[in-house]
């Protein structure tokens, strides 16, 4: 099953390489990865989506902890979280289809951020399911190009990592 894990790491050169190299050599497959700085400039936060049984996830977490630069690993499996992805989708928008696409975009509370005579570029944020659903609907018009960010996650409520 899919797990979303947050990894707090020292904000140092090479940390991303160390983490990615660990996943590669232990045979763990990364679905998505997002990295950014946090409120503390010395610490970066990685959100990694990875698929595997619980035993594999436990091994991933233990192996991550062996890296000197890893401070904390959180598996968000059983926890209430806010998770978001951003996608940019360039979709065919011929004259006859434009109205319908705009309606769909509005239902998803997405935005059309660029328009040409034959296409729209749509920006959508939300959970992975929501982004998947919008992509599913837009497929019928023909998606010309698409890019999704990795998932980012924070715990709900006052709890912090």
């Amino acid at each position: 099953m899919k797990h979303t894990i947050s990894v707090l790491v020292n904000n140092r050169p090479g940390v991303l390489a160390r983490t990615a190299s660990l996943f590669a050599r232990r045979g763990f497959n990364i679905d998505s990865l997002a990295v950014s700085t946090t409120q503390d400039p010395d610490i970066s936060r990685m959100t990694i989506v990875v698929e595997g049984p619980d035993a594999v996830l436990e091994q991933i977490s233990k192996q991550l902890y062996k890296l000197m630069d890893v401070i904390k690993v959180l598996d968000h499996q059983d926890e209430a979280v806010i998770n978001r992805e951003l996608a940019l989708i360039k979709v065919n928008a011929e004259a006859g289809a434009r109205g319908e696409i705009m309606q769909t975009v509005s239902i998803f509370r997405a935005n059309i951020v660029d328009v040409s005579d034959r296409s729209f570029t749509i920006e959508v944020t939300g959970s992975a399911d929501k982004v998947d659903a919008l992509i599913g609907l837009l497929n019928q018009y023909g998606i010309r190009e698409m890019m999704r960010t990795g998932r980012i996650v924070l715990s709900r409520g006052g709890r912090t990592a």
């Binding site: 790491v9 050169p13 902890y65 904390k72």
Partner: protein
Amino acid sequence: MKMTGAQALIECLRREGVQVIFGYPGGAMLPIYDELYDVADIRHILVRHEQGAAHAADGYARAGGGVGVCMATSGPGATNLVTGIATAYMDSVPIVAVTGQVPTFAIGKDSFQEVDITGITLPITKHNYLITKAEDIPGTVKEAFYIARSGRPGPVLIDFPRDMQQAEIEFEYPESVELPGYRPTTTGHPKMIERAAELLDSARRPAIYGGGGVNSSDAQAELLALAERIDAAVTMTLMGKGGFPEDHELCLGMPGMHGTAYANYALHEADVILAVGTRFDDRVTGKLDMFARNAKFIHIDIDPAEIGKNVVPALPIVGDVKSVLAELLGRVARKRHPEWRKTIDEWKKQYPMRWKGDGLKPQFIVREIHRATKGDAIIVTEVGQNQMWAAQWYPCKRSHQFLSSGGLGTMGYGFPAAIGAQVACPNQVVWDIAGDGSIQMNIQEMATAVANKIPVKIAVLNNGYLGMVRQWQTMFFKNRLSHTDINVGTPDFVKLVEAYGGVGMRVANESEVAPAIEKAMALKDRPCLIDFIIARDENVMPMVPAGGTVDEMLVD
């Protein structure tokens, strides 16, 4: 105090108690080597190939000398260390490797002798550093040594650009290290220890399966006391050899692929197995889901990632082996298991370790070395048949006595590691049990041994083959000996050693074995190699084929 980066490095090494460096200079290391020119309190041993430096530092550490230190220049110097670093990583040996690097402004420009050694060694170091600010030098070196020797030990590399060696800094050595992401657990969880004691108390056929962690945590006394108290059969892996006295009645020798039949049967039949500082390697377990499947496991290891990696134990205990065993000892009941002992004794009678046939046998040679050294020598091995014969036929008494590349299986490890061990333990006798294949992989270190009057003794078990591969070809590939016969081209080792200034001997008969060993033992100021021409087709037995089960074990 103001000093250069190079001076700071030397001062840091001094503060860490370093007495010996194994190294090889080069362009990107010139400022550091210039400093070493005047240093009298740290001995620098010049090797003849950087791989030798890494293995020597490893042998020095394993023999009990503390963290081993090796140095090499940038580029090819650094890459030549790689096999040695990987060897130390797989066997959890504390070494610190210092490499030269092109000046910081030249990094990333494909400069002469530039290589991304921190990138290359990422998966084979416990941690590594590239120094980019000269004021970081003292803190980095302090951290490197702390990381190398604490928790599960391992190699750490510091890449040292040449301009950082020349930069001037205000030297201040930090008192402590601050690593928020690194806090090894050393004390076992009391509740888990309690439950482990209960499980051991309930055992009717207890066994202990000990590994390298017993040696690296110096837990021999605790393990001995515990084993005697609960009356458990004890089997120690190649890495654990010496962690339990092998002449003890409870000791069954080594388990696994070339372990004793009775050790493998004991693990197979045991109802509770205490796995101590070990990682359920495939060379021990064979087919994993069939391994010791009648047993409940208690697994003690300082590395949480080892627990559940291969086998899910009934009771995991994360902690330092020595400390956990001591706690456990205070809680277990004294037990006797006469029936279990009887069963094991029957296996021992039925499947004794032995060799058969005529000719000069490698097993006999190792036994003779054991006899001549009274079982006290430090035994270092190369890799292959020589390694297994040494492990099977030289019973050890203590930790840090048997040095072998277990995890990586590095041919060419033995001789330079023996040099390191001899430097760490100048008053002990050090033997390298070698094969004619592996000794050629680092034979150039003969020059190091001669120049430094290091009296390492090498026993080449010469069968003219890459013997272990030949054995597998014979047994599993219809005896198609593809590229394993090395008789043609192998040098005359006696002449070769003499050309270096060492002592060489050749032995082809049993009657010459003891006198040659005696002669070697008498040499105190130079290396010696005995070329034993052994029975060519001897196999290492018993054998559980790779990925096999105890039922498939070939006894002889």
